[in-house]
Amino acid sequence: MIEFKNVSKRYDNTPAVNDCSFSIPSHKFCVLIGPSGCGKTTMLRTVNRLVIPNEGAVLIDDTNVADIPVTKLRKKIGYVIQTIGLFPHMTVEKNISVVPKLLKWEKNRISKRVDEMLDLVGLEPKQYKKKRTSELSGGEAQRIGVARALASDPPILLMDEPFGAVDPINREILQQSFLKIQRELKKTILFVTHDMDEALKMADIIAIMKNGELIQFNSPLEILSKPENEFVKSFFGTDRIMKRLSMLKAKDYLQEEPENSPKDQPKITITKDFSLKDALSILFEKNVDSAQFITEKETGFLSMPVIREASGDGYVE
């Protein structure tokens, strides 16, 4: 668990972070989001003490990070940054084995670990081990960056806009494969981004910051349905409701056939990933108020009022 307790940081009397408190439960994926200059990177860097807060404390499993020797602390925290920062004078293999080497692992164990890590990020070990970093594409380099951060199996991972410099198509692929890795490894992750779609896709919890202050801290669905203020609302855009619907699964909202419904309702076969947004789109397309949806296992009805209710958890503007 990572706990921020009244963290404040000033640079030459300009506050970068102002009295922020929240805590990230273990094994959760927390995305820290906000416009540039809102202090999100500063927050992230207080965890591995690259930034020392002026006031407040950061606790990892109830231990103040200030009480842990700094190099020992950092070796237990994976760190991935936007510019990746692979060491240009080392091969891929050497790059991944930096932290294990610092931890004085045995040679065989390191070499085995390098292979595991390359497999994990979806790169063929034989083919990539001996490559120079300058021979890698942007996406490959960032995969190596992730592999390097995970090499010593740290319980915590800090990621500062890791996919920010990758083109949209590769970013999508990286996000998917990283989510897969996370489902497997269950690290406690603090992930900084300014890309809202990325936040919604990846996060278990989102922390929204503005001007150094924490505005809202909640799950993506909650934030979409109950934005704290105008800033959050505008940050998520006018299609905020649609975004929420796209995150809800249609099969979870199927109803019994309503009374006195029209006889000739359309019947639509759907997959288990079919979202409420897709369902809404079908209703519009067929120009009906409700329809019958059939999945592999169950069958049921969705109507406009049901979707409307799901869209906002009762929140009406």
Binding site: L50, V70, F87
Partner: protein, 399 residues
């Protein structure tokens, strides 16, 4: 003219024309009645029309293979071959023709090199430069040619072919001094660059870590570079004489206002700039993200410096040492003026006596030394950057 439009390599053509001119009508040797008096200038046609014809034919051979419109490997090889044979022949002729115009009755006679000889050197360089891609891509041919060429030159020396040239006479008159002063020259240069490395690198590292040191060090080493070397030697004389006269320790250490010590002190100061500047820039250029990652991964400052910053900056540091070495090899010439010795001795003696060949006896070895040292450093750089995976491309082979 169609050929020229298609395949005209103006640079090669320039080299070719210079070669033709130096092989024919441009004065190639000077025949001086004695060491100091200027004499008559002679071109190759005047001395031996046959030699001139052979040279021009060899050059035409190179020309035909170069400009026949085809870029086949064999044609390129012949073109290069003709250029090499022509130049070997030029070297041979220099010695041989000097012997033919030597008058055995006048022991004071001196045969000097004239414009044509230097121009032929230049022409050879230009034509080789045009063929550098071919030579670099055919290492076997390149190495064979150069070994054969130097073997021939060595053989010419051994059979005393050049003994009638005044340069050789100056050399044989000064053989012992030449060897001593060459060693002197190298010693002064190496010790100075050595001090430059020992002082410069730590200074640059310190400057890269501290803004205040940076503000003091960088302007200082730049300022030193602007002081003319002659006045630097002069400026060092009073304080060093004072120290030697008044402090027992320095006197016993052999310090004096003139001699090798002040020369080495001054040259070490000159050696600083390229080393400090390159080391500083090399360290400062290390990517911020790389440093951030190194720190974030839990490296201590010492670990970060030795396993990340230094290796990444290393090729740049080597470049600084290389520049410094070549520069100081040249600058050491001036050390002769304050009695430190070195090849500059011949240059200043020759200038004083108006004996140009004695000047050459000092200047040519300095140039050759500088080129050799530069090549050695280049080799070291290639090897280290390969080891560090930096700069020079290494092909990745799929296993």
């Amino acid at each position: 003219m169609q050929i020229f439009k298609k395949n005209c390599d103006a640079v090669f053509l320039t080299g070719f024309i210079l070669g033709i001119l130096s092989s024919s009508f441009i004065p190639f040797l000077t025949d001086n009645p004695n060491r100091l008096m200027p004499g008559t200038k002679l071109n190759i046609v005047e001395i031996s029309p046959v030699f001139s014809t052979i040279m021009i034919l060899l050059l035409l051979g190179a020309f035909i293979f170069e400009f026949n419109g085809e870029k086949k490997r064999l044609h390129q090889l012949f073109s290069v071959l003709f250029v090499f044979i022509w130049f070997t022949f030029i070297i041979f002729s220099t010695g041989h023709l000097a012997s033919t115009i030597t008058n055995p009755d006048n022991p004071m006679q001196r045969i000097g090199l004239s414009l044509g000889f230097w121009l032929s050197l230049f022409s050879f360089y230009i034509m080789l430069f045009c063929k550098r891609h071919f030579l670099n891509n055919n290492k076997t041919i390149q190495i064979t040619l150069f070994i054969a060429f130097f073997a021939m030159i060595f053989m010419f020396f051994n059979v005393g072919l050049f003994s009638d040239l005044s340069l050789a006479k100056e050399f044989s008159n000064n053989t012992d001094r030449f060897v001593t002063e060459s060693i002197n020259h190298l010693t002064i240069a190496f010790i100075s660059v050595g001090w430059g490395v020992l002082i410069g690198i730590p200074l640059a590292i310190w400057a890269s870590k501290s803004n205040r040191v940076e503000k003091a060090v960088l302007p200082f080493v730049k300022l030193v570079q602007t002081i003319p070397s002659l006045s630097m030697f002069g400026l060092l004389i009073p304080p060093l004489s004072f120290l030697a006269a008044n402090v027992l320790f320095f006197r016993e250490a052999g310090l004096r206002g003139i001699g090798q010590t002040p020369a080495i002190i001054a040259l070490s100061l000159y050696a600083l700039l390229p080393i400090v500047q390159n080391t500083y820039t090399g360290l400062k250029q290390v990517d911020k993200g790389v440093l951030d990652a190194a720190e974030g991964m839990g490296m201590s400052n010492v670990q970060k410096f030795f396993s990340v910053e230094l290796p990444i900056a290393f090729p740049m540091i080597l470049t600084g040492i290389r520049t410094s070495l070549v520069q100081i090899t040249g600058n050491t010439t001036m050390a002769a003026l304050i009695g430190a010795g070195g090849l500059g001795v011949f240059i200043f003696q020759g200038l004083g006596q108006g004996a140009m060949d004695l000047v050459l006896l000092g200047a040519l070895p300095i140039i050759i030394l500088a080129i050799i040292l530069d090549s050695i450093m280049n080799l070291i750089q290639t090897i280290t950057s390969k080891m560090l995976l930096l700069d020079k491309k290494r092909e990745y082979k799929q296993s």
